[in-house]
């Protein structure tokens, strides 16, 4: 553990005595995610650190829980990084948004919401960033399974059979399911423009 992290830890413990935290490697884990905004604001304003620049927000999936990692630097003192992390349950994960403290959290929290489904409470405009509204699932979670695109379509099967290829029944069922799903999707969800 380097000196700056231990210094930050002692300062946080004296400045905000009711915040529970512990260190993991070279980072600080806040036991209760609700403390995040207070801790970040404290570090931003504390004259010893002045961590005024939030470089990166990352989410990660550790199977038992999801994690949101924050890399803080100081542009004024040219020091850093201080790494904060919070852990939340996989079901209905909620983390307070850092946008009121750092504007740079804006697009990055939307990205983490998009790919991991962590809801950043208090974010002014929490929508999917890269994927479209209506996309199901969160693709960077470890349990995400992409739908099987290796399916023959009905026209393919007809062509193959016409040329004397014996197509197994499994592919025919898949093709029928695919066509049915396509028709269902068209009838249920008319195409709408993204915004």
């Amino acid at each position: 553990m380097d000196t700056q992290i231990s210094e930050v830890k002692t300062q946080l413990e004296t400045g905000l005595p009711d915040v529970k935290l512990r260190t993991i490697g070279n980072s600080i884990l806040l036991e209760n995610p609700e403390d995040l905004v207070r801790a970040a604001f404290f570090l931003k304003e504390a004259p010893a650190f002045r961590l005024d620049y939030l470089s990166s927000i990352t989410a990660a999936d550790y199977l038992d829980y999801l994690e949101s990692v924050y890399h803080l630097y100081s542009m004024e003192k040219k020091t850093g990084p201080i790494v904060l992390r919070v852990r939340v349950k996989r079901e209905a994960p909620r983390v307070p948004s850092l946008v009121p403290v750092y504007r740079s959290a804006d697009l990055q929290e939307r990205e983490a919401y998009d790919t991991f489904g962590i809801v950043y409470e208090g974010h002014p405009d929490l929508r999917r960033l890269f994927l479209w509204e209506g996309f199901e699932g969160y693709p960077l979670r470890k349990d995400y399974r992409q739908e099987d695109t290796d399916v023959l379509e009905i026209a393919d099967i007809e062509w193959l059979e016409k040329h004397g290829v014996n197509v197994p029944e499994k592919f025919k069922t898949q093709a029928r399911e695919l066509a049915a799903a396509g028709k269902r999707a068209l009838s249920e969800k008319p195409a709408q423009p993204r915004n």
């Binding site: 990352t58 504007r103 740079s104």
Partner: protein, 378 residues
């Protein structure tokens, strides 16, 4: 944009892009206009999204290199550099002296390429259709020739390896680089004589799209855009990664943070990059270009298994802070791989800069942010 603005009868909502030449890719803006003045602006991205991070998590560590080229496809050398730094930090690999020099030379050449293109296309956006851009591209081609000679590819270089670089530089190639770089100061003088005091350029760029200091810091803006706002923050100076502490170079700063400052800071940065390349060529030692311990990795990438842990490596890419966050669980594939893309985060303040300006200025402001959609959308 609030409902009240949308419901006012005099405002008009229009879409720029995604297929619009001035957005430099598939970027889309939804602008609310009052006459020609912008009242609100939202960005819509994701048209080039391919889930780069998931692709990387399904690959081996050395295999990711080729994909990092496609992030910011105008300077693949810098993308390689950031990823190499992060992974070397994770696995504790050292880099030989000569390789460090080669890396710095390539990174600075890539910076020159990037800034040349940016200035050229910024002038395109202003209406100087392709005359300045062609001069810039002419010089860029000479540098791309070097990249092709050295790495085998002009744009997707894939040149860096863990613990060094792919090929050594020969004396001939060093001489060629010296020749190309020695032309640049004269070219920049000529380029500036054409542009910097040009009346139209000054009128269109000065006092347009200003970005105040405190907002720039708070919104996490980095790179030339931050320095144009007058904040002295260059990761080459603060982190002193690789061997940047050995070179003598200045960090150009702007005053107002308008489009003109952003343009001019980049011109000055190119001059500093030329200085760095010249110093690096003069000081390059003989020796290995690749750490011998990493040689087996080239044959079998699955041998690269860093111990469980995490690392965040960042560099000063031409667009800002390019960071890579890697988590290893001890297997040959990264458990988590995240890219902190400057092109994306610099867009945070696009609305603040554009509101109140004319619609023609929004194009210029977007051009001066310097985004590449491969990196923004990932």
């Amino acid at each position: 944009m609030s409902e009240t603005i949308l419901n006012e009868p005099q405002t008009l909502e229009i879409n720029f892009g995604p297929q619009h030449p001035s957005t430099h890719g598939v970027f889309r803006m939804r602008a609310v206009l009052d006459g020609e003045t912008i009242r609100g602006l939202k960005l819509v991205i994701g048209y080039l999204h391919r889930n780069h991070e998931q692709i990387a998590e399904n690959l081996t560590y050395p295999g990711v290199f080729a994909y990092t080229d496609r992030l910011d496809y105008l300077n693949s050398m810098q993308n390689n550099f950031g990823y190499a730094l992060a992974a070397e930090k994770l696995a504790g690999i050292t880099v030989p002296e000569r390789a460090e020099y080669i890396r710095v030379i390539m990174a600075e050449l890539a910076r020159i390429v990037n800034h040349l293109l940016l200035v050229g296309f910024l002038l395109n956006d202003l209406g100087a259709f392709f005359t300045p851009c062609l001069y810039a591209v002419r010089e860029r081609e000479r540098i791309l020739d070097i990249f092709e000679d050295v790495s085998g590819s002009r744009m997707m270089c894939n040149y860096f390896r863990f613990g060094g670089v792919k090929n050594d530089l020969t004396e001939n190639q060093l001489g060629e680089i010296r020749k190309v770089v020695s032309r640049l100061p004269a070219f920049l003088d000529e380029f500036e004589a054409l542009l910097s005091k040009n009346e139209i350029l000054c009128m269109r760029c000065q006092n347009v799209g200003g970005l105040p200091k405190d907002l720039a810091v708070n919104a996490g803006i980095t790179g030339p855009m931050l320095r144009a706002s007058g904040i002295n923050y260059d990761i080459r100076k603060t982190d002193r990664y690789s061997i940047y502490d050995r070179f003598d170079f200045k960090v150009p700063l702007g005053q107002k943070g308008d489009v003109y400052d952003r343009y001019y800071v980049r011109i000055l940065e190119m001059r500093e990059s030329v200085k760095i390349v010249e110093q690096a060529i003069a000081g390059i030692p003989r020796g290995e270009f690749l750490n011998a311990k990493t040689l087996p990795l080239l044959r079998n990438p699955r041998l690269f298994k860093p111990a469980a842990g995490e690392a965040y490596g960042r560099i000063e890419s031409p667009k800002g802070e390019l960071g890579y966050y890697l988590v290893s669980d001890g297997t040959p594939q990264p458990w988590r791989y995240h890219v902190r893309a400057p092109s994306l985060i610099n867009l945070t303040v696009l609305e603040e800069m554009c509101v109140g300006q004319k619609i023609a200025d929004a194009i210029v402001i977007l051009g001066s942010i310097d985004i590449v959609l491969g990196e923004t959308d990932r």
